[in-house]
Amino acid sequence: MPDNNKTQLPFLDIKDLVVEYVSDGEIVHAVNGVDLHLERGKTLGLVGETGAGKTTIAKSILRILPDVGAKICGGQVHLDGENLLELQEVDMRKIRGNKISMIFQDPMTALNPVQTVGDQIAEVVHLHLEHGDHTDPVARAKEMLEIVGIPAERYHEYPHQFSGGMKQRVVIAIALACNPDLLLADEPTTALDVTIQAQVLDLIGDLRKKYNTAMLLITHDMGVVAQVCDDVAVIYAGTILEYGTKRQVFKHPTHPYTIGLFGAIPDMNEDEEWLHPIDGLPPDPTNLPKGCAFSPRCPYATDECRKEPIKIYKTPDGHDCRCCRMGAIAKKEG
């Protein structure tokens, strides 16, 4: 957990980010006051279930939320001390794909079907010729293809000629072609089968090490977090519930939701008949509970949890946990 006493801002510093969607006249509270920070070269895992607001956070950083309906209502996103949310669109374009780039969840649909893969890689290099390190987009695109393990001769082929794993490699090549400082990886392995998952994660890891790229890894897979991340933030209904280093969160999960997540992973050493899901469903984001968003599903919830928004408490090992019943739970579990 990087301490907040330093006056200098971390490399990526998200403060109190609030994002809402308007749909059919109802306001969807997608992200509700999220704080995150990330240093150069480090990896932060953002864990949560579908609809928790993970992708919205990533898209807010890049400011590529859909024009219609989505709105960043508050907060700051500082990259290298510069508030991205206040930049002009023209300046923001210079950052997208260059300083910050994104890997998308579904490689099947993330590539333009009528453009050759080579051109799609070269395009991002071409767009950032002025500020980038590369002068020849086509040469760089071929180099990137080789780096992600695709022969450069396949430059002129189209996405439909590639398998899912190969397409994700192309997406990675696009994302890393300009050596970004920050990589937003939105469930980069979810759509791939397990053997390819490991390859893709290794590939991302190797390339990041080479260029000292920071990564915000969005996932719902605790195994991936264990393999890749330095820090972990657990998000639920647009709110961070637990935030610490991987070691802290994995060794001493404190929030009942995090405990539930770990409990849901089947133990391969034991002969278990049943899986252990967390009972209930995530709350309706148009009508969030007044207090703790997890309280309706929480086995430890009391009236106190439902009264007002919960603040952040420090756990005994020093990481953040948004739970006012921490002590009581520790006793019960202990």
């Binding site: 590529i64 669109e89 210079k94 993330a110 079907p113 009528v114 991002v124």
Partner: protein, 321 residues
């Protein structure tokens, strides 16, 4: 690909044959005596009988059909007009280009305006730009083109005297008013098609990818999205082309353009069977060629479709080997 084109071209033979038989039969079944129409009301019965014999109208249906098909498909001769005795092929060679120019100018106006209008509607979905574009499209479909033609003539020819009211003496300029009055339907159709197709595409993941790469919004829409949205638009263009080609007669009549439309309509009134038949076969072939062109355009726009065309060939090669 070449194999695919050759196959499609060969397919046009049975199409032309079918059209020829159908039109010939329909013309035979049409009431009215060509000889009477040609010679006028004052002709004597002997003159009429001689004329019928000369035109071969006394032969049985199958004999005449056989003769006609032999002439068209073996000798490549559409014959001469019964009224003017001018060779039909020669006439088509002069008139077809005029109809083509009218159709192409109409399409250029329709799609040149319709595509940007549709894109604007899609990128401003549910905003005022969208409403205006869609209201314009509705009006475009609803306006009868002969009425619009008269309005345009009275404004641009009579009042302002900018453009000629009829004829083709002034070259391309003569086609502006006819094309303007003829384009509304196609324009509206194109705008609606572009809008719905673009709405599908601009929500696609690869559009988000393009934005995340730092592509300027204009290129996102016109370079990444529009190319993917083109297939339904090309289909609409092909349909509109065929429609305009076949429906040119009204506009050609109003503006007195001696094209294919007026040729066929005039001959129909005169019971000039060879012209109607020859003209129709010719339009049918032009339409088939157009559809082939549309299919080839699909392949040019979408590599997946191109792969399909080529894929058929590859399979055949394997089968032969």
């Amino acid at each position: 690909m070449v194999r695919y084109v050759i196959k499609r071209l060969l397919w046009m033979i049975p199409i032309a044959l079918g059209v020829a038989i159908l039109v010939f039969t329909l013309m035979t079944a049409t009431p009215g005596d060509p000889a009477q129409t040609l010679l006028g009301a004052t002709a004597t019965e002997t003159d009429l009988a001689a004329k019928r014999e000369e035109l071969g109208l006394n032969d049985p249906y199958f004999v005449r059909l056989g003769d006609y098909l032999t002439n068209v498909f073996i000798k490549f001769d559409l014959g001469a007009s019964w009224v003017t005795s001018v060779d039909i092929m020669d006439t088509i060679a002069v008139r077809m280009p005029r109809t083509l120019v009218l159709t192409i100018v109409t399409l250029i106006i329709a799609f040149g305006l319709g595509i940007p209008l549709g894109v604007m509607a899609a990128t401003h979905q549910n905003k005022w730009q969208d409403s205006i574009a869609m209201v314009l499209a509705m009006i475009g479909v609803a306006i009868p083109n002969f009425w619009l033609a008269l309005l345009l003539i009275s404004l641009f020819s009579v009042k302002l005297a900018w453009l000629p009211p009829m004829g083709i003496e002034m070259g391309l300029v003569s086609y502006i008013l006819p094309a303007l009055s003829n384009c509304t339907g196609a324009l509206a159709n194109c705008a609606r098609q572009t809008r719905s197709s673009m709405l599908d595409v601009i929500r696609a993941d690869y559009i988000t990818t393009a934005r995340s790469k730092g592509v300027p919004e204009r290129s996102v829409i016109y370079k990444h999205a529009l190319k993917n949205a083109m297939i339904p638009i090309i289909t609409a263009a092909g349909g509109a082309f065929g429609h305009l080609l076949g429906g040119a007669m009204i506009i050609e009549t109003i503006f007195n353009i001696p094209g294919m439309g007026t040729y066929i309509i005039g001959s129909l009134n005169n019971r000039d069977y060879p012209v109607v038949q020859g003209g129709t076969i010719f339009l049918a072939l032009a339409f088939s060629l157009l559809m082939l062109l549309v299919d080839l355009l699909y392949a040019a726009v979408d590599p997946r479709i191109k792969a399909q065309y080529a894929g058929k060939k590859r399979k055949k090669v394997k089968a032969n080997a």
